[in-house]
């Protein structure tokens, strides 16, 4: 128990049967007994609340105990860990477990298959090619959309880096795209790209003549998706970069002006060190999100024109086809890739490692 480990106890712990708010041993005992009774005697929806109350009791005892004995670290972190455990980590472990079983949620039969799901999704001659091509597409989308976001976000940030009249009002305009619901903006992008009704086609058709269809080739479809995604999320990168840019002390630029430093050198010597960490952070967050890219693809192409991404593929497998355990295996493969990338980021972003 981490609550116990931080700082050595200042007061002696109460005896087991002493009635005291910090007697966590008694609380655990009472909690277990009452919970067990409740589980046996009450229906699930009733016993849940009794167990919940008992957990709260135990937690309260732990909290009082921790406070009296100054285990502040554990005390402060515990609620967050508890909520995360119940709502996130527990379900994650559940699906991790499922990935070792053959389980199809609509058929309710279950049997242990070890690593077979992983082997199947990676090597099976029917299932694997789809996974691999979706993974490769996802990597391509990640590279395209993240770099587009980084470039556009960076350029936007450069525009807003100085104080000027009405800046606040113009900034909020640029931030708006990321507040839109993906579905709504995605649906409107199908309109913008539509060859019959769409604005883009209208403009191009009237300027160039002929018939313009954005989404009828892989290049066009990818460009269409990347454009919409980058449009929505470049403001996020912009905010991060902008935060770095405005944190550069003004006098450094003044010194650079006095020292007659060229714009190029000024950027790399002064500005860039201030935004490097934030750029890497944006890269991390956006890459994680890029691996989850599905909504826009569903709305814009349904995965047609070879734009299937691993996340959409996963939705089809885990949701439409109810192949729950196979889906879990795929998601843990995604998680593995993302964790590797994240650690790579943390390694690169840490100056100590970089210079070594």
């Amino acid at each position: 128990m981490q609550l116990m480990s931080t700082i050595r106890s200042a007061k002696t712990a109460p005896a087991l049967l002493e009635l005291s708010a910090d007697n966590w041993r008694l609380a655990v005992l009472v909690g277990l007994v009452v919970s067990a009774l409740a589980v046996v005697t009450l229906p699930a929806s009733g016993s849940f609340w009794v167990v919940g109350a008992m957990s709260a009791l135990v937690a309260a005892a732990f909290a009082v105990n921790a406070y009296r004995r100054r285990y502040y670290g554990g005390l402060l972190v515990a609620p967050a860990i508890a909520v995360l455990f119940v709502m996130n980590i527990f379900p994650l472990l559940w699906s991790l477990g499922l990935s070792f079983f053959a389980y199809q949620s609509n058929l309710q039969s279950i049997r242990f298959v070890g690593l077979n799901n992983y082997i199947k999704v990676l090597t099976d001659e029917v299932a694997a090619p789809g996974n691999w091509s979706a993974l490769i597409n996802t990597a391509m989308f990640a590279v395209c959309t993240v770099s587009a976001q980084m470039i556009v976000g960076f350029l936007l940030a450069m525009l807003f880096a100085k104080q000027f009249p009405l800046r606040k009002y113009l900034l909020i305009l640029v931030l708006t795209p990321m507040m839109l619901s993906v579905v709504a903006s995605g649906v409107f992008f199908t309109y913008y790209y539509d060859p019959t009704f769409g604005i883009l086609s209208y403009v191009i058709n009237s300027v160039a003549g002929g018939q313009f269809i954005v989404m009828d080739s892989k290049a066009g479809a990818v460009a269409g998706i990347v454009f919409a995604d980058a449009w929505m999320w470049s403001p996020f990168v912009m905010l991060l970069v902008l935060a770095g840019l405005v944190s550069v002390p003004k006098y450094l630029y003044e010194a650079a002006a006095i020292d007659r430093v060229s714009a190029w050198r000024r950027f790399w010597s002064i500005t860039f060190p201030y935004i490097r960490g934030l750029l890497m952070l944006a890269l991390l967050f956006r890459t994680i999100e890029a691996f989850k890219l599905a909504d826009l693809v569903i709305v814009l192409t349904k995965g047609g024109n070879d734009t299937m991404t691993i996340s959409y593929h996963l939705i089809r497998i885990a949701n439409e086809q109810n192949k729950t355990s196979e889906g879990a295996a795929i998601s843990y493969i995604i998680l593995f890739i993302v964790i590797v990338l994240t650690n790579l980021y943390l390694y690169v972003a840490n100056p100590k490692n970089r210079e070594a």
Binding site: G74, L98, K168, L173, S181, K250, G277
Partner: protein, 314 residues
Amino acid sequence: MTDRVSFWEWIGFRSVGGIAEAGWGRTLVVAVVSFIYFLPVLFIIFTAIKPQGLALSVPPTLSPTSFFGLIPDQFVFTPTLDNFASVFSRVMTAGGQPESTGFDRFFFNSIVIASASVLLALVIGTLAAYGFSRYPLKGNDTYLFVILTTRMLPAIVVIIPVILMFRAVGLSGSYLGIIMLYAAFNLAFTVWMMKSFFDELSTDVEDAARIDGSSEIKVFFKICLPQVVAGLAATFVFGLILTWNEFLFALLLTGPDTRTVPVAMNQAVSSGGRGTDWTLLAAIETLFLVPVFLATFFLQDHLLRGVTFGTVRK
């Protein structure tokens, strides 16, 4: 006496008069770029005030006014507020009477669920961040990384266990369930962000307060918290933006009474069994944009301070 001002100086890319201050020239340039960037949103807003029949007209109608003749008449439409009325009440069956669409409830739900969950995450997450920052546990970094990991997996993976869990305990379709779930999903972000803020604070003042006999609780509330108000505001805005438009969990874990707008919005994507009702969808999205837009606007000053995550600190 006036001096020649170069173009670059005028738009603020090079300036003599105050390096960090640019003038109206810069405003003009940024306004043009921002406007172009904003155009797709503007189009949605304009679609919201378009007569339904003009949504798919060719050539597309672009503006409710001609802007003093700037825009040719064929691109101009007569604005209407009917679509906003249809968001809340419209005819659902041929020849029937207008009936309530329940959107008043959905908006209410969205606001309650998003704000409650973000605030809850803020409370729990700020406490945890303070703990991670001031009282590092054994394996502190591991905890932090695990917390970050919870944001990496596609939501679809956890959905079945979560539904099972919610069903078992009767949380399905309740406010409490979805609020707790969103709070958990916002926690990762909140903890990471707030920790960087606490890390940036100098501990001298806190130590001084402790020496003066302040309790830990008082140190936290009276000394630390007031210094990270910007961080709280920024975290709130980011959390709100991420939660506001969440779709999958909302679809699967809310009932008819707790349904949120992003789910109900699909009413307009496939309206009455035909395709998209463009003007209705635009009206919903426009209304739905307002709360988060206002929140962002009023907390905007904190945003830039908020996103540094301590990475700038040397």
